[in-house]
Structures are given as structure tokens and as C-alpha cells.
């Protein structure tokens, strides 16, 4: 997508908060504390962006491995951020920011940079469709890996007894070593990211 088209598209779709298109073409988001962040523009060696959801069991089951990856690669200059699916479709539920804060605490994510992907703008930009789905972005801002964290899931409902392919770690190792990522794109298994606009559309039928 050309930058000008993206800007136009964003103006149409995005709400007051969320994505802004900086003049360098970076995705900027506002995290839970109100800070503006650019997870797709690493300030260090690389960054990893995880698309997650508070209520997806596959995404939740990966919380410990996500923490381990960030712990292992943090010292090597890799920044981690969590992008939570916008699932504020229940008027009765607690505000989503609050749900996410609870989730961060319960799943050991305290200290992580976390944002809510209002109107799915980050997911659209990154072509993320699943939670959990991982992205590795190199120093130049190029997405070098998009896909599963590892091959624990052989299918939905079928987990391997042993993980035999640590795809995200392999991608990070390759990027940090300045090499080629062996498999830059893998199929992530988990829950589908839903377009909240689709649900809203039917509200007024």
C-alpha cells in the first residue's frame, strides 16, 4: 500500500486514538499509559510484535513462551510489544483498557509495552489475522518474519508433545546475525482477529 493511500484509509477508519501515520511512514500507537510508541520502528537491534487477545486460549497458552522470548532476546537489543485485539463489542463488559491491564497482571506481562489495536489498524497494516501471531522487524523497519511462535500446535486442538521448530527464535537469531530468515512466513494457528466494524455493521439492520 502506498503511503498516501494508507493515510487516506486511516482517516476514514481510525478513531480519535490509535494509529497515526508519521512522515517517515511508521505506525504509531498510543500504549495503555498514553505514551506514543512505534513498535514497527525498532530503536534497538530489532523488535518483536505479538498480536494477542485476552480471551483466546491459544494466545493465552503462549504467554509463558512470549515472556521467555522477550527475556532471552531483551539483552540482545530486541524490544517486545503486545498488540491486543480490539474486542470492545460488549457494552456491558469492563472497559477494554481495564481488561487488558488485568490480563497483563494475570499472565505475567507486567512491564511489557501493550497497546489496544483500536479499529484493527495495526493488524491491517501488518497483515495480522491471528492471535497469537509474531512479527520480527529489523533495524530498517522491514518486517522480516510473520507467523507462528513455534510449532507447538499441529492443528487447533492438537498440540505436539514436543516442539520441533522454534520459528520465531530462528528468525530473531537470523536477523540479529545479519543473515537471511530461513522461513520468513509461517502459518499461525489460533483465533481469528475479528473486524469490529463487521459486527457494528449488523447492529443497525
Amino acid at each position: 500500500m502506498r503511503p498516501s493511500a494508507l493515510v487516506l484509509w486511516l482517516l476514514v477508519l481510525s478513531g480519535a486514538v490509535g494509529l497515526a501515520q508519521s512522515d517517515r511512514g511508521h505506525v504509531q500507537l498510543r500504549d495503555l499509559s498514553g505514551r506514543v510508541i512505534a513498535p514497527f520502528t525498532p530503536s534497538g537491534a530489532a523488535s518483536v510484535v505479538f498480536f494477542v487477545a485476552t480471551d483466546c486460549p491459544v494466545s493465552n497458552s503462549y504467554a509463558p513462551e512470549i515472556r521467555r522470548v522477550c527475556r532471552d532476546y531483551g539483552p540482545r537489543g530486541v524490544e517486545c510489544s503486545l498488540i491486543y485485539e480490539d474486542l470492545d463489542t460488549h457494552p456491558s463488559a469492563a472497559p477494554l483498557d481495564q481488561q487488558v491491564r488485568t490480563h497483563l497482571r494475570e499472565y505475567g506481562y507486567l512491564g511489557f509495552t501493550a497497546v489496544v489495536d483500536r479499529d484493527r489498524v495495526a493488524a491491517t497494516r501488518a497483515k495480522a489475522s491471528i492471535t497469537p501471531q509474531a512479527f520480527v522487524i529489523d533495524r530498517s523497519g522491514e518486517i522480516r518474519y510473520r507467523g507462528r511462535i513455534d510449532n507447538l500446535y499441529a492443528a487447533l486442538g492438537t498440540t505436539r508433545q514436543q516442539v520441533t521448530s522454534h520459528d520465531l527464535r530462528e528468525a530473531l537469531d537470523a536477523v540479529l546475525a545479519g543473515g537471511k530468515v530461513p522461513r520468513p512466513e509461517t502459518e499461525a494457528l489460533g483465533c481469528f482477529i475479528t473486524d469490529p466494524a463487521l459486527l457494528r455493521k449488523h447492529d443497525h439492520e
Binding site: P57, A63, A154, G157, T159, Q162, H202
Partner: protein, 759 residues
Amino acid sequence: MSRRRLLFLALACAVVLTPLIGQSQSSRTPSARRAAPDARITFAETIAPIVYANCVTCHRPGEAAPFPLISYEDVARRGTLIAKVTESRYMPPWHAEPGFGEFVGERRLTDAQIATIAAWVTQGMPRGDETRMPKLPEFPADGWRLGQPDLILEMPIAFDVPASGPDVFRNFVIPTKLAEDKWVRGIEFRPIARKVVHHALFAQVPGGSRANVDGVDGRPGFGGLSAVGFMDRTDPGLGGWVPGAQPTMFTEGIVSRLPKGSDFLLQVHFHPSGKREFEKSLIGIYFAENGGQKDLASVLLPAVFGLGAGIDIPPGEKQFTIKDSFTLPGDAKVYNALAHAHYLAKQMKAEATLPDGSTRPLLWIRDWDFNWQDGYSYKNPFILPKGTRIDVTLTYDNSSDNPRNPSSPPRRAIFGEQSLDEMGTIGFEVEIVNKAEVDAFHAALASRNKMATDTASKNGTLGRLLARGLRRNMQQLTVFDRQGNVVTRLGEVGSYSQAAFSPDGSRIAVVKNDPDTDGRDIWTFDIATGKSTAITSDAPPDSAPIWSPDGTQIAYVSDREKTNAIYRRAANGSGAEELVYTHTSGAQIILTDWSADGRFLCFWAGETMFVLPLAGERKPIELGRERGGRFSPDVRLLAFNSNQSGPFQVYVKDLAESTRQPTPGGPAVQSTQVSNGPSVGGIFWRRDGKELFYLSIQGGQGMMAVDVLGEAPFRTGEPKLLFKLPTPVLAPAQLSNVSSPDGQRFVFAVNVAARKPAQ
């Protein structure tokens, strides 16, 4: 070869499921793929009825499923996912193929329903006219769904389920404290941490019989797949639980015995969710008036979970097949089917050929999933006449293409109880219809079991299992100093437990297992010379050697004719044994001390600790829910383990006050906590009463020492770790004299490194 050695195999019992609430939708939803393009599929009119009838039992708040599927938003948000998992038939979870038996509580969508869901998603998930929504099924409020149970059991301590890692199989021992035998007609299971409890199996075992493994690793219960049920069992089991199953009474007329003093064994399969959880299940048990009139039998094909079926699967083998047949020696009414195997099994199929040549499909699991061990109750139990042949075929995939393969790269898998081993059976719970055929029926089943054992003996399966068991359980008596340095090792490597110093510190008494006969006898070892002496050498298993205060006698527990009793005999092995006391509650007794003045023994049985005066009529005095009692050298105090306020801790209380007849409403006996963390017995008073030892279980077993600062009131210093044991010892709660009288030497039967298996 002892049969008892074989009784370790998991028995997945039949889970009885009730029909799901709601009506079948199969008649009103035509295949959307074949429907005209303008046909409107809406949530309100088409999708909600399917979801309400098949999904909301679990997909509602407070239930096992991870998200609710009640409102339009709930379902539409997960629309793509629902289309995908219904298409793959991962959801709703049901593993029996249609056409092979009709079962109670089938959770299965028709092809047409699946196509309708897919079409709805493709069409943008229209909401429709919500005034035409079906009513949400009514679910009973929280509480016991089968009514107030006759007996409520609760896990004594919550189990801490880790956030991540492999699935956890944990067995919890819950004393029933039944004063008489009961008959069970139904069980309702209420897990707390529903997001992580994947399934549960129930069994009963003799009271206290799992005390040697319960809590050994410092957490409630014990690990492993193999604890529930026994393969030579002939009575119907106690069943199990899977998410989504509504609690129900057993099939009418089927009851199961729960003997007096027995322990309820709960095996729970936990599936870590990414978040730490705590589980403290409740079990409601419903009793029947009597034992029922039906003659029931469990028919397993192959027998003994495949022990003699030659299960030896080479790595890479994609289609390893075993077959078994059984011709019914009498008319049998079939109620339930169950299937059990480990991770490599793929297909499990059973079919009956009747004497007239006609066939009847019984069960077909096309893609076996260890995680969904449903039992299958036939909707209409049916009679298979005498002479009917049942054929079972099981196939296994030990290639790397099988994502469930626990080994990467694949390894040879032989029959066994470990998760890397395999087994397999399809079982049927049947009623033997004609009284005249009952004996022949049971004889035929017994002969099948014997044939399986004989075959396993001939083809080396038993030898391999036995050799592996030995390698796993080898210990050596090892004496340590206060820093944990090894001072000496005694005797040969073997199978030992419950090592105890003599009161003068010169000898060690220990329980020695003979793996060939499964016999257990008491032996002594002289520390200076290493000479060993058998104190008992009888058939009944003996345990808990306790030295008399003068070192001339040893008391021990012996398991005879299903009661257990305390005996004593001379510590040099000479002379006859003397019966000291017989315990009649049915619970296994564990003897832990003989007081320095020679007047009292201390033991526990089930969950209750007793002091037994040796004078007079030897009537035990009940002390309460405690264990591992140890008298102070002046016999004024009693140190013991109790878990009344959380994990087991060491306490000390006044002996005279504790053994006095309690006055109703009188003050409770005060006890002083000695330990500062979870502990499991191994309590020992130094002879001068100035120091107390115990085993802590924080980060492995550790020998702790506490200074006794005063007796009235009783005061102690801060517990100090002397040393960590190199490997956890078996049955730590049953230890007695872990130390020499001066508190300078400690003895344990510690594991020696397992040797490489000889393949």
C-alpha cells in the same frame, strides 16, 4: 512374577454422559452450500439454535470453555474460528464415529449444520430478527446438580497448576473415612479451576495405601498416569469426568463398592493455560441402598490393556496393528464402552459378529486423542447372545508425521505405563444375563488375563517391565553427617525404605523389598561390620520397623488377611513374633514411634493419629488429624505433622493433655509450630531433648534442625537447614529414627543412579 507388580495400569473408566439439553437441529437446517444464494441464514433463526443445542453447555460463563457463545456478538466475533473448528470436527469434541453405536450425550454436528455455519460466516454473519431467537437453555444454578450428596469429599490441599509446560497428571488421595462399606450409584465432580482441568478419573484404594507416595515431592498427591484403577478389577469402576458432561447417576442398577476406610483416588489431567491456577476439587458421592442384583463384568480386548498383545512399535512405523477377538461364553447385555491408549494410537475399532452371521458395529474412534478419554454409554443397552464374537482392531502411528508422537525423533515404543510407552484396549461393561453362565463367563475372562500374562512372560514384555522397575527403584542405605557428607554406605544396592537408627546408634533397621516376589521384610544392618540380618522373612508384606527404647526388640506392621496389625520380635531375629495390636478400621496403619519409657506406641491410619498404651487392654487413644508422631525423650511432649492450616508443618504439643479424655466444649490442646515451611515427617528428638530434626520439602527434601530453648512453655529457635538430600526418599512421612541419638549421623535409603537400559 507377582501379579501385583502388574496392577499399575491406568483404567479409563466409563464416563456416563447425559443428553445435552436442547433439541436436535438436524431436520431444520438444509445444507447451506446447496441452498439458493438468496437463502438468508441469520444468527437469530439458524445459527443460535445450533449453538444453543451443541455448544453452550460448556461455552458459557463459569464453564470449561475459554469464551461464551451466547449473544450474537459472542458468536460473530468467533465466527471464522467456529467455521474452521466445526469443519475439522475439533469442536464440538466427540470422537466416536457415527454409525458405530448410538451413545448418550453425543456432541456431534451434522454435515448440514457445519455447512450452514460456514455459509453464514461467508455471508457476513447477519444478525437476523432477534425476536425470533430461541430461548437459551436453562442451566441449573450453581451447587450440586444431582441434589445433596450423601458424602462430600474435598481435596485436602489446593494443587498449584503451573502456567506452562507439559500436561500434568496428578493423583489426589482423599480419605473417605467410611465406617462401613457403601455402594455408589453416582458421583458428581466439581472442579474449581475449570480452565485447566481437562479430565478426571475416579477410583478407590485401601485407606493409607498411597501414603508412601502421597506428597513425596512436596506437593499434594503424586504424579503419573498409572495410579487409577487396577486391571484385575471386576466390579464396575467409579467413572470419570470430562468437560461438558452433565453429572448423572450410573446406569440404573449399576453400583460400585466403596469399602470402609478406603481412600478415594482422584486422577486429574491438567492442561496449563498460560496462567497459574489452583485446583481444589469437590466430589459428591451418592449411595445406593444395596449392592444391586446384576452380575457385571468388564470385557477388555485385548486383555490386560494389551499386555500380551505384542505391542512393540518400531520407530517410523505408520500403521502398527494389533487385533483381538473374544467369543462371549454367555448372553451379555452391553451398557458402556471405553477406549484407552497412550499418544501413538490412531484408530480403535470394535465390531460384533452374532451367531447368525449378522454384524453389529460397537465403537469406532477414527482419530484417537488421549486428551478426550470419553466413556461411551449406549443409548439403548443391548444383548449380545452367547457365541457372539467381538473383534477389536487398534492401529498406532509411530512416525514423525503423528504430531502427538511424544518422541522426536520417534523411538521404539513397547507396552508399559509411562507416557513414552504404549498400551491399548477397548473395554465393555456388560451384565451377564443368565445366572447359569456367570461362572463360565468369569472363568473365560480370567483365562484371557492369564494368557496375556503368560504371553508377556514368554515374549519378554514382562522381563523388560520388571527390569525397568528395578532400575527405577534402586537404593542404598547411606549414612550422612550434619553437613550432608556421606560417612558410609551399607549393604548392596537394592530396594529399601524407612531406614531407622537403633537407639544406641550402632545398627540400622530397614524395609527391604524383594522385586521378584514383591515381598517386603524387615532387615537390620550393623554399621561397624556391615553385617545384615533378616528380622522377618514371611510372605505378608512388613513395614515400619520401630526400635524398642532399649534396642532389644523391633515392632513392625504386617499386612495379613486384609487387616493390618502391629507385631514385635527380638531385634536379633531370634524367637517368635508377638502380636501387639490389630487395627480394624480398614485403613493402612503407619507406625512411627515407641516412647523412651516403653509405655506407648504412636501410629496413624488414614488421616488420624493414635497413641497406643502397651499396658492394659491396648485401646488406642485418638489424637486427631495428624501423622508422624514422635515422643520427646522425657515422654512429656509429642512432635507431629499436621496440615490443618495449609501445608504439612511440624508441631509440638503436650502428650498428657492430648491423651486425656476430651471434655465436650473444653479447651483445645495447644500446639506450637516448629517448622517454618512445608515438611513431611522425619521428625527426631536428640536424646537430650535439646534439638529437634525434621524433613522439609522446599526445593527437594532437606534435613532441618531446630534448637529446643525451653520446655514450659515449649520454645524453639529458628529452623536451620543441615543439608539437602541427594534424591528424595520414599515415604518420608513414615520415617522414625532418621538420626543417631546424638544427632550427629543421619540415615536414608537414597536412590542410586539408574543404569542405562539394556535394550
